[in-house]
Symmetry: C2
Subunit: 426 residues, 2 copies
Amino acid sequence: MITAQNTPQDSNNITWTAENSNPNLLGWMKGSPPAPDKIIRFDNGTYFQFPQMRWTVCHFEQLMPTKSVSRQLFAAVPFEKNELSGIDEVTFIPWGETEPMTWKQSFNANFTDGIIVLHRGKIVYENYSGCLTPTNRHAAMSLTKSFVGLLGEMLVVENKLDENKLIKDYIPELGKSAFGDATVRQVLDMTTGLDYSEDYADPNAEVWQHAAAGNPLPKPKDYTGPRTYFEYLETVQKKGEHGEAFGYKTINTDVLGWLISRVTGEPLTEVLSEKIWSKIGAEMDAFFTVDSIGTPFAGGGLNVGLHDLARFGQMILNGGTFNSQRVVPEAAISTIRKGGDLQAFAKSGYTSLKGWSYRSMWWITNNKNGAFMARGVHGQSLYIDPEADMVIARFASNPVAGNAANDPTTLPAYQAVADYLIEMDK
Amino acid sequence: MITAQNTPQDSNNITWTAENSNPNLLGWMKGSPPAPDKIIRFDNGTYFQFPQMRWTVCHFEQLMPTKSVSRQLFAAVPFEKNELSGIDEVTFIPWGETEPMTWKQSFNANFTDGIIVLHRGKIVYENYSGCLTPTNRHAAMSLTKSFVGLLGEMLVVENKLDENKLIKDYIPELGKSAFGDATVRQVLDMTTGLDYSEDYADPNAEVWQHAAAGNPLPKPKDYTGPRTYFEYLETVQKKGEHGEAFGYKTINTDVLGWLISRVTGEPLTEVLSEKIWSKIGAEMDAFFTVDSIGTPFAGGGLNVGLHDLARFGQMILNGGTFNSQRVVPEAAISTIRKGGDLQAFAKSGYTSLKGWSYRSMWWITNNKNGAFMARGVHGQSLYIDPEADMVIARFASNPVAGNAANDPTTLPAYQAVADYLIEMDK
């Protein structure tokens, strides 16, 4: 998965807004065939440039190979709906500003493709734009990590993974890599010391080698590097010590995905299907993008429907049950909710997320409501607020990858809706 | 879609049987990562060789880009089941032989991956092997054509397509190709005169140019040919006259797929979803393989669950209704069932299918039961027998592409089960 380095202003000095970058307006891939300047191909390098990526985030399956996460043949369990028209007028002060913004305004400010607010398990707000509808699927980007992290904690509870064991105990192939002497817990919490830069702006950053290895297209003839995600992971070198600081690096999740496949004997997609996706009344199959040998991209390859993302969040808010049936052991969820090492997180430089921590590939706000999140570039988010009995699932295609760009109009908006729901319930 | 030219005996003189070629036994793509000699990649040319193809037919989505046919969010309607254990012991005489074979023996003889017999709308027989289960999807190969043919007839009934108009009236880009002065009806019934060979054994056959154009991988630097299915169709030249003889050529269906997209303004996948897939209680989304600009391969790219294939057949047997709801106009189905030109078919050289005809991309047996079929290479079949109130849906991975190889142990078997059911009902 290549992440764009775009700003809201392109070389023609167009200032992109949610309205003028709407993929339906721009007509990407419309027509049979589309006009030549409206064609988006995987191999021509434009598919993740802005504004093309606003189309791409709903169409990964037609750009590259994928692998389904089957809902199997169980009946979907539709949400009840109890829409609260007042939410659109909820106001908040964006970080660093003085003038209030409404929830409704934040929808376009964040280039939202779709958002659902659940309260007490019912849909109280739902809205779509761009390429997303209730019946298609959107790239979850790094929300994927939190799905994989939860599966990892489930295997710890089942004693199939020992959090204190070393990675090389499970995957000897990683013995000479940086991961070899890291513990399962350090990988789960991303406190590994890795010589790996995820700075997309640096053409020499290791993330580009990772992307090249995982690219499912045939390699160029002169290519000599690793040819799969697994082969890449074997090459990663150590930098610093494990266990000292939180360092957000996607390859930890790829190792966790490998661990999950190794100890279960099944592809990650199958494990997710069996343990979760077939048990929460999902409306659609999900899917992962894969590398050239069909390995799901654990660090960011999940694509899923918005209803189903919300449904997954609700199951977690419920402490691991769906429709009163146990899906995930409560211990797996309480491990996540108790959060990670505050000092390790403080060293990571997320200055705008003061007091947060990272645990099992989830972001823990440590706010007064006990909220915790899954977060993905370009504005993907799954926000679970136990105090407000609220889940917010949002897909977006913000031109800026880093969530620091949309947090100022996202996090206070989520808190304002939580306050509104708590007040309403009094 | 590249079709293998394999015989049941490979270069090591292994005589392949259903048992010794079972992909689960051979372990293709098992493990994380699979052993090097068990890896099947799209670009290494082995994916459709035998016995690898017995794995591939269930895994196209992880080899190449695809496009979903959404069931949308409607509830699946499971089949009732009333299994008749006697069917396994039904016997028949394979064509050209003297000794009887049982239905049970024919399962492996045909390298069957899964088969369902419906009688009066209920499952009376169901069995799986190889890569197929009730919850995954199998390549339908040229069964695809019959789905597209039905959509074409629906658009004729809706007056969106005029069967007497010329192709160039709808698609000016095809004006200079062989298709330009063919009528919609001639394309629907494959009575076009085309300079196009589908002989996979001939390396100069036009089918290879078609495959190269539709291949979704980046083209080699020195490639100068057409880069999409549509571009290829524009190059096809005429041979003989239209309307004189049936000539089974996949590119007719690709033209029909283009027509459907042109007159509806939607991708073929979307049209199939809206008109049929969302209305028959389908259990799973289907999908098409696509070319590099996302055009579904109308001639053979459909992948679908076996239950859903049977469900589609039952809807047609019902005259176009499902659960008493109208899905397809009755006129579209009666057009198919009345069959095509017998003389045009007789000229085509299908010596073992005497008295059959071809209409709207369906094969009409003209037997005493009024049976008609969709047929795809390597043993894919959907057989509808109105007299026996029977639908047989079968996926297979027979090492021989042409159905002439399995018809001798397929068609008399189907007839024997039809006779069995008719007798039982007396």
